[in-house]
């Protein structure tokens, strides 16, 4: 049993770590807030003083803002749907006893270990290049005109690349969940004559509820900030400019730190709204 003295000692010993962690989060957040209320143009003499809510108004009324929000949400939703649906199917497939199971599982998981920049470069140059890419050769082999993926179908291409990267994560979590399913339940259902589809919807899917929730929550947090794949493949062109990309453009390309910081604050608010919304809707699964 902890005494008063030992509790105080514990608090004292933990204090540096807590202060460091708080500082780690709070300092950038406070600086972003501070800059968002200032006219800060590094190439025009730096900090030029308070500007009130001008940056916020300018950012949200710019013609690029709503398309960027829309693009962000489309990418997040599409990738979530693709990774969860295919992830469930893959997890069920990988759960079946088969020869070389270990190798197959490693191959399925492999894309998760490739850096986003590298995978985007590989997809762009080796697969999707309309002249020298693998897909172009395939298309020509079957007598079709090659598709300019990253310009004619930029959004689906980006969604495909990001989904490819996140599918292993979803599969891994869902596979672990499926493996924890009591096989006696399925056997009993089979003996009662329940068809496979019903077994899936009434036994497997409800069992996966919690895992799916975790996949959606974790992926949403990362997908809201997806950047490298867009930077490498389309450079934000062809309707693929997300909110995080727009902020990057405002801060680094336009060198308008104030405007970009206001965008950053909007991004924080958006991320929190989405997170709260998700926690409320799907997070209930975690309580059950």
């Amino acid at each position: 049993m902890a005494t008063k003295a030992s509790r105080s000692a514990a608090r004292l010993m933990m204090a540096p770590a807590v202060i460091l962690l708080l500082g780690w989060m709070l300092v950038p957040l406070i600086m972003t807030l501070w800059f968002s209320f200032r006219t800060y143009l590094p190439l025009r003499g730096g900090d030029q003083g308070w500007t009130g809510f001008d940056n916020y108004v300018r950012f949200v009324t710019s013609s690029s803002f709503w398309p960027a929000v829309q693009t962000t949400l489309i990418i997040v939703l599409s990738v979530l749907i693709i990774t969860v649906v295919i992830g469930v199917l893959l997890a069920m497939l990988l759960d079946q006893p088969m020869w070389g199971q270990g190798v197959v599982r490693i191959l399925v998981i492999a894309p998760f270990f490739v850096m986003p920049t590298v995978s985007a470069l590989v997809w762009k140059n080796m697969f999707m290049d309309p002249v020298n890419g693998l897909f172009a050769h395939l298309w020509r082999f079957f007598g079709a005109e090659p598709v300019s993926w990253l310009s004619d179908a930029a959004m689906p291409s980006v969604i495909m690349i990001v989904s490819w990267q996140w599918l292993p994560f979803a599969t891994l979590i869902l596979l672990t969940a499926i493996q924890s399913l009591d096989s006696e339940q399925l056997e009993a259902a089979e003996m009662d004559g329940a068809p496979k589809l019903k077994q899936f919807f009434y036994i497997i899917l409800p069992h996966l509820g919690r895992a799916i929730t975790i996949v959606i929550l974790i992926q949403t947090i990362f997908l809201l900030a997806v950047f490298a794949e867009i930077f490498v493949t389309t450079g934000g062109a062809f309707g693929t400019r997300t909110l995080s990309y727009l902020i990057f453009q405002r801060v680094l390309e336009s060198q308008n730190i104030g405007l970009g910081s206001a965008g950053g604050v909007y991004a924080i608010i958006l991320a929190n709204i989405v997170a709260i919304f998700l926690m409320r809707i799907v997070g209930k699964n975690l309580d059950n």
Partner: protein, 435 residues
């Protein structure tokens, strides 16, 4: 015994390390771009170190990343680099802000007056040189002489855009995978943005009128974009909306382009060992429309010293070495005259050895025909040929070129792209306090 031997060996090693550290007591850090000429320069760095005792550390980056790194470093006074590789866009702006060391005390042997006036002008602010050009470039037409002959046409030295469009259509052979013309359509101010801006000059367009208002709602821009898209749809490669310098270089070297209008420094690559069409490449001036302006740009990759560096003297010594006549001769001696850094010095173009290089004269003519102080048909308030030398331009032009690329890809009409470009530009200019 063994302990003693080890001790002696350790002492000897420490002495050697200490001595070598003493011999090379200064090291400068240089940020540079991963272009062929810069990579070649790195190979000769040991020679510089041997001559001066100054060590050199390189940070080599892709063009877009380099720009962001050095811009962030200079604006935040980061002090990561003693020399930065910058261009004609950054130098006058940074020089005006006092962020660069003026290069007004270079030695007499360096012969600063030998720098081509167009280059020196673009790298100066109010007459003071702030960066020394390592190489300079304009843009010109590189074309396949064999395909041109097969099409029954002859390339003039100074063609018009109409001729280029006809020639491109005549050379296009989709079954043989040959595109009549390859041009940059890739989004980015230094990629497709640079090309379309230079092209628009010859169509009578400009970025801003004299009151800093965007001019994308005018007829000249509509003509430029409609012509570009029409010609590229007829005779350009698939996916040209995502092609930049490197993509087009690769296509040309594979024999898949009849013509390519791009940087003059590409001439040594398309006639080099990596090119499958090296023996049949001709050169011509970038096209015009009879309005008095050609569609070629002007650019220099130059070396500048950020103000506040602790190694200013050593950095100057390096810049003098790397951009000197002697360095050019060093490269020529080892790798041939075609591979020397071009476009920076008058004396290079007076050298009979260099005059025999097939693209030398056309490069010089192209450089001399571009005037950053008078690049547009109508008067404009900015300096620059393929850019407007204001801090906001990089951001604006990247966004505008994204809209243009979307139009090239058929995702929106030319009119829609121009309408968005007009809004983007005016919004940014308002945010920066111009309007």
């Amino acid at each position: 015994m063994s302990f003693k031997r080890n001790l002696r060996a350790a002492t000897a090693m420490s002495l050697i390390t200490a001595t070598s550290a003493f011999a090379q007591d200064t090291t400068i850090t240089i940020a540079t771009v991963n272009n062929g000429d810069m990579i070649r320069m790195q190979g000769y760095t040991d020679q510089f170190t041997a001559e001066t005792g100054i060590g050199v550390e390189w940070v080599t980056l892709e063009e877009n990343v380099l720009r962001q790194r050095v811009t962030t470093d200079i604006t935040t006074n980061g002090g990561q680099f003693d020399i930065m590789t910058i261009g004609m866009y950054e130098t006058p702006i940074w020089g005006a802000n006092g962020w660069l060391v003026p290069l007004d005390d270079l030695s007499a042997e360096y012969d600063v007056d030998d720098i081509l006036p167009a280059m020196a002008g673009g790298l100066s602010h109010e007459g003071t040189l702030y960066a020394a050009p390592f190489y300079g470039e304009s843009s010109m037409i590189m074309y396949r002489t064999d395909l041109m002959e097969a099409a029954g046409m002859e390339m003039p030295d100074a063609p018009t855009w109409d001729f280029i469009r006809d020639a491109a259509a005549a050379m296009t052979d989709r079954d043989a995978d040959i595109n009549g013309i390859c041009l940059r359509g890739k989004a980015g101010w230094g990629e497709g943005g640079a090309f379309i801006t230079a092209m628009s000059n010859s169509f009578g367009a400009r970025w801003f009128d004299e009151g800093w208002n965007a001019t994308f709602d005018g007829e000249a821009w509509a003509n430029t974009l409609t012509f570009f898209k029409g010609m590229m749809d007829e005779s350009g490669p698939a996916g040209y909306a995502t092609n930049g310098f490197n993509e087009n270089l690769s296509l040309f070297n594979q024999g898949k382009c009849g013509m390519w209008i791009d940087a003059t420094v590409a001439a040594s690559f398309v006639t080099g060992d990596d090119s499958t069409v090296a023996d049949s490449v001709g050169f011509a001036l970038a096209p015009d429309n009879g309005l008095g302006k050609r569609s070629n740009w002007l650019w220099a990759w130059a070396l500048g010293i950020p103000a506040g560096t602790a190694q200013e003297a050593e950095a100057k010594q390096f810049i003098e070495w790397a951009t000197s006549k002697e360095y050019i001769e060093l490269v020529a001696e080892n790798e041939g005259w075609a591979n020397v850094p071009p476009g920076a010095r008058t004396s290079l173009y007076e050298n009979p050895n260099y005059q025999s290089v097939p693209f030398a004269q056309m490069t010089l003519d192209s450089i001399l025909s571009a005037d950053p102080n008078d690049s547009t048909v109508e008067p404009s308030p900015y300096v620059g040929v393929q850019f407007a030398a204001i801090p906001e331009f990089a951001g604006i032009a990247t966004e505008v070129s994204q809209e243009f690329s979307a139009a090239y890809a058929g995702q929106q009409t030319v009119e829609e792209a121009l309408e968005k470009a007009q809004a983007i530009t005016n919004e940014a200019m308002e945010a920066a306090g111009y309007r």
